[in-house]
Symmetry: D2
Subunit: 473 residues, 4 copies
């Protein structure tokens, strides 16, 4: 039991199955935290030295060991033993094997503030990675929209009005802008330093939380220790909510394509489709359906994480360990989904002839026709009614609006409608042109802010290594 | 069927049960939107006049009718008939009964952009109301903390360390700060004007969306019409996620009080407790349990709203009507819960004698004792082990840490521990004093930003009425 | 405070806002429980009399009052005052106003077992009502299927194989059979009598739970008092899960119709569709979309109820009051949704010409063609490949499978394919005929079991009234 | 591309990242299905031979290959290549490598009915495994209850009445009985054979589904092919709902222990507890908290699976692949949680002295005292009030009910209360004895039904192997 961090007050050893249950899965997830945990320990030990809570010599030995482990971890050679519970114990144990002064590195620190720290370091990078893939997805929409064409807008899954492919892409671009905005807002809340919160009550040691914040690139320390450990899981839930909404957008793009493919208005790309083992003619939009399915997974992960917050008192509780699972699976799911979608989109090919027919069959120019009447002075409500009647008549005769003569429309309207104006109002292609004015801008505002965030992290990281090395030497 | 807005292309009338299903509940919810719908129509008609899409005379008649309905609605005299489907039809119908020009007010507009508009107007006020109650809750924590006393910090629902009531209140204050931050971020996304998006594709009428934005106090028009109607429900989900997190904080405060009351460390106030019909001795923390329960309701409302976004294509779909239910119930639930909690908190009375005993029985000063050893040079890991052993010994002898003599501790430590320093380290009250430095500030930063938002809305509202009246006259 | 059931140990009165929060909404829901609460009290008082815990004379007075209130309640004249907390207090208060012996009716009983009882009585009827509407929905599918016709089966929303309308209806019929099975299984768990469980620990009074079970039509008393009150909410969750699955089936039926309508393969009925305020040509499947949306609501209600069970200890907790909201809204939502869908279905009209074309364009007979080759001895995997090639060739030439000559197919197969057999294999209508063998049976097995359950309840009810009247007289 | 089952109609190869997305995770889950997939194929090929759809000689070769792969798989030597998409393709590919007749084994079958089959075979075993662990948990409660003692019943987390440990264990035993009942009901729905449903529309081959049902131990074939493939995910949701409820019971047991440990009324076992890295005195109920947390995970998995069913049309859709993840993670989570809890329970030790004090301090005998008065003729409502007053008086004087004299109680009651009767009513231990009559029975009824199910599966399995070998030879 010597290897645990807390043997002193126990009479009997723990059962093996206890750690199978508590740590086997958890240690696998912790593998994504190793580098963050080491960086956090480096900053902590630098601070202990600076505050003279540890002699420089001893701090140097510990830091040297940590830097060594870090380069091991970077090359994938640092493995976690789940019998040692978690990443924190594994790292402390490995350091102590190199230098007995490792026993001093946990001064003024708890695993409770450590895990909060590691998670925030992970989340910062995860927010940046997800943002980068969302920016790619926006660019993929822009690429697709370059070969602009007529496109059907639906409401209630029924033909509504003629628009353009670029208009549709522009709509989805702006959904993603909001997703990026949410991630950016979240980043500001994540980017605060919990280190120094201890187990729940802070510490009476003379620590310097401003200093570790600087070394780790945080904007400031968190305000209250109990809040810092109690709130584990909260920012994870906010993250998962943002990811769910982004997934719902990827799912909606997918749904649109599935629908259009079902109507044969676009061709699914062989490169991103699969077939059936039984039905020889099939070409199926599998990745798009799976994105839709994974949207449901993301909602499940949200509920998983959110439910953890209910029914537990303040202070650290182990339930919150589960939030790591939800968070990491959520991030991986999002990255994979946005990535495959951004790769698939540029392969889509549209059948403009069939799209025009779809719009004709759906009487998509009826609104423009009603507007034409209204522009001539018919109250809109009346114009709507007249046009509704015209549509009904056309349907009965299996005709399209484009076949209406100026004469018959004028008769119903009660005044002369110029033939040219009528022709323009009922031409699918003419009306669609209006929508082409909506263009995706060359760069999202969040592209700039992502670069800034990444630069700040890189700068802090250089400072951290410099400080550590200055103590080692 | 004449009263519907869309009879023209239908051969047969609708069944009555159709509107029972579609509109009966919905129209009740729409009652909260009447004033917003009228304001939106006023802005729209002002714009139609300004753009000369409607003669000033006719616009004046419509505006006069709208202002009349508005004052009716303010006095509660405007009732919705759900056979007229929704608030939009009810308002247009009422206007048209006053002036036949009402038939022209729907020019260049759809109920799809109208409902998006109404919902955003509602959400702005709702965000502000919820923020105001959260600020109250923070003040209530501050009031409670004024009579500061020793307080038990737990981790894993086991005694951890001695803290102070003010420390605990400060922790919860900061949770709520983040809640206010999320609402503030959301407000910026909500505060964009969807009016002019039409059914899905905008309109070819020469509308001025900047002008309606100004009249309604929006920061700008939304960017894309299809996005504007497709995204109904998205900001609602973000709102509900923010409310869920805030509820989880109210629930955690409640949980803490329930736990402390169960241990008889505080007295539940008669004023906010109830009894049992069978057990005469009972005093139960009913409102606190119900807050915990309503946290689960909020999660349910989140899932309700979030699930709507999956499996539907772009463009307006009626599924999204359901998001109104989730949103409005979520807002009401949050307001009621935060309000009762903020009223209850100041009535709590703590039993400091029992709290001190609880901390002693829980060996809450063990960390401070280990830190004392570590400050004297024992590696922390070793100091932890020694202290663990001391605790184990005390438990066997049914003693507390405060009964340890300097002699016996010095023996174990291997060096002299000054009796005074030991006494301070193992005194619950002394250690607790450290935590009293955490104080709730007099005012939240979000108090200021809330005032700004409310002022901007009031200013816009004055402008809107001025413009309308200038056309009427 | 006199009117509460528990004033004795309180010094100060409760704040009015406490009951606003605890009871205002709750008392409205309790209105659906009034008759159940009265019946439960009648059974309880009959038992008190039988066990001589109450003199027959006094019991008779109470029963007389209860019967009077019951007939008031049946006529809608019994109103709840939420300041009296709940239905139980309202009923006891009303009885006591008629006879002071009302003060004795709560002997050996708690509101904790009362609410569990009332909820089970409600659930039994609710299960039966929902079952009845589901049986209607099955019959509606049967009615629709009577005018059988060719129908497109999809996988991955892509044309798969030709089937028949009756085949599709039969598939959905069997989904609903499972829904009915789940409700029937649940009924057995619900149909146990919690009365006599007291607050949490039963009672030392010599009660007869078998007798009240008989009077109320339960199969037996529940086994453990603590379990009986702690498990409030559990059967509600099981109910909501069953309702969610049933809603997902209604939603899938709706989705199929929305998709077919979008492809113009069926005509939406005017009677159950609505239009657009802006686009004159629109006819929208509003109720079907709303069913899809309400499926999400049901998932939300499930999560609401399910989340209540986590993070609370054994014994009654007020959180569980929230399960009533979820349950009752779930039941009402389900009833409304299944009802409108069963009314709408028979109005659907299919365009068989377009369906045949859809199947041709989707090469829906490819599987039958591959099977033809395989039946002639080609390994299926090879037959699949050959047919895939044929489809590819047809697509390139914009031909259908039905245009293939026996000669060209024989050439590829490497042996003679009889022209007649080929023609049958590639005829959409011929292949579809196979699917018409699937027929909805005249009656579901659950139709019988529903009748049995209803009869048992009616019998018990007669017995209850008889017993009560025998004591009154 | 030769290795896929569907290359014929495709012009271009698929991108590698497509299968990374579709299959990498999925193939790992499929490893749990290998043996089921092989058994299903064995049954299918036996049927093809019996129906003369395949010459006996060729069937024998395929079956020989399958039996060989089965023994490989049993020893863990059959590995899945995810580039081959799924378990079905991997198995067919491996067979075809042994004999070219493998190309014939997919006759009259689709991966759509195969995956439904494999999942049901998996679910049958999973239901049985989970049931077995739940029966263990019941036995663990019985073991614990053998050393019966006084135990506190709470309502609203406030002391309610004195009960016994056996009473508490009996309550939880009965919760689990319902869990077992739900699993048993589900088993009947799962135990139907989907094989023969094809892709969505069945097949025109002369298959014998009754025969494969017998070989695989199913009660009967499913009724409708489209339903069989469309309903993928439905029984998974029902399973997850049953698991969620069972987890909520494990969580409630955990919550009770956490609460009692927090009050020091029981001792957490060293063997199943952990410590703190910072606070030397801590012993934490980590596994119990994690069970509570995993209850939230189960709710998340439910939502994940349930959400998949919404917004997709009939017929197979790839979204449903996600249900496999939710199902398998749910089963594993449940098994691990119930198992650790059943191991931990017998280690609990109670502090009966402190429990008695807890009950005294909570005036737990107040109900019994009120009942004593009521038994003497005081109306219960009045007896409740008197006792409430007595409690209030005791609290003011810091006395317990057990210190009340017969004289003072008699005075308040208005008549003589015998001292002995009073003493019994206010004695925590005497009252607790009443609850000891509740005893866990030696065997659950579901223990028997589990054995029956397992025997039926074993019998079918023997038959399957016998049939296969008779064809091979």
């Amino acid at each position: 039991m010597a290897e645990k961090l807390w043997g002193g007050r126990f009479d009997k050893p723990q059962k093996e199955e206890l750690f199978d249950f508590l740590s086997a899965e958890n240690a696998k997830l912790d593998e994504k935290l190793v580098l963050y945990d080491i960086d956090g320990s480096i900053a902590h030990v630098c601070m202990l030295a600076k505050q003279k809570m540890l002699p420089k010599q001893e701090a140097g030995e510990i830091l040297s060991a940590l830097l060594k482990l870090k380069s091991q971890a970077q090359s994938g050679a640092f493995k976690l033993d789940y019998k040692l519970e978690d990443v924190h114990t594994n790292v402390e144990d490995a350091v102590t094997k190199i230098t007995p002064n490792g026993k001093k590195m946990h001064t003024a620190r708890s695993r409770n503030d450590q895990i909060s720290l590691d998670t925030r370091l992970y989340m910062r990078d995860a927010i940046n990675s997800v943002s980068a893939v969302l920016l790619q997805l926006q660019q993929s929409l822009a690429t697709l929209a370059k070969s602009d064409c007529v496109f059907p807008a639906y409401t209630h899954t029924q033909v509504a009005q003629p628009v353009s492919l670029s208009f549709w892409a522009h709509a989805h671009y702006h959904e993603i802008e909001r997703d990026l905005g949410r991630l950016s807002d979240l980043y500001a809340r994540v980017n605060q330093n919990p280190l120094g919160s201890g187990a729940v009550a802070g510490t009476t040691w003379p620590i310097d939380r401003g200093y570790t914040s600087k070394l780790l690139g945080f904007s400031s320390p968190t305000a209250n220790p109990m809040d810092s450990v109690s709130s584990r899981g909260e920012l994870e839930v906010e993250f998962l909510s943002a990811l769910y909404l982004a997934m719902s957008h990827a799912s909606r793009i997918s749904e649109d394509i599935i629908l259009l493919a079902s109507k044969r208005l676009l061709m699914l790309p062989d490169e991103f489709s699969t077939g059936s083992s039984m039905m020889p003619q099939k070409k199926n939009p599998d990745p798009l359906e799976l994105i839709r399915g994974k949207t449901s997974r993301m909602l499940g992960l949200y509920v998983h994480a959110a439910g953890l917050l209910k029914g537990v008192p303040s202070g650290y509780n182990l339930d919150s360990q589960e939030s790591k699972y939800a968070l990491m699976h959520g991030v991986d799911t999002a990255l994979a989904s946005f990535s495959i979608l951004s790769k698939l989109l540029p392969y889509l090919k549209f059948n403009t002839e069939k799209i025009s027919l779809e719009l004709e069959e759906g009487y998509a120019c009826a609104t423009e026709l009603a507007d034409l009447l209204a522009k001539k002075g018919v109250p809109f409500r009346k114009a709507h009614e007249i046009t509704g009647g015209l549509v009904r008549g056309c349907m009965a005769k299996k005709k399209f609006l484009s076949s209406l003569s100026a004469k018959e429309v004028s008769l119903l309207a009660g005044f002369e409608i110029p033939a040219k104006e009528l022709a323009e109002a009922v031409s699918v292609d003419k009306v669609a042109r209006y929508a082409s004015q909506y263009k995706i801008p060359p760069e999202s505002q969040f592209s700039v802010s992502l670069e800034k965030r990444k630069k700040a992290l890189a700068d802090a990281h250089s400072l951290l290594e410099k400080e550590a090395k200055s103590i080692v030497r």
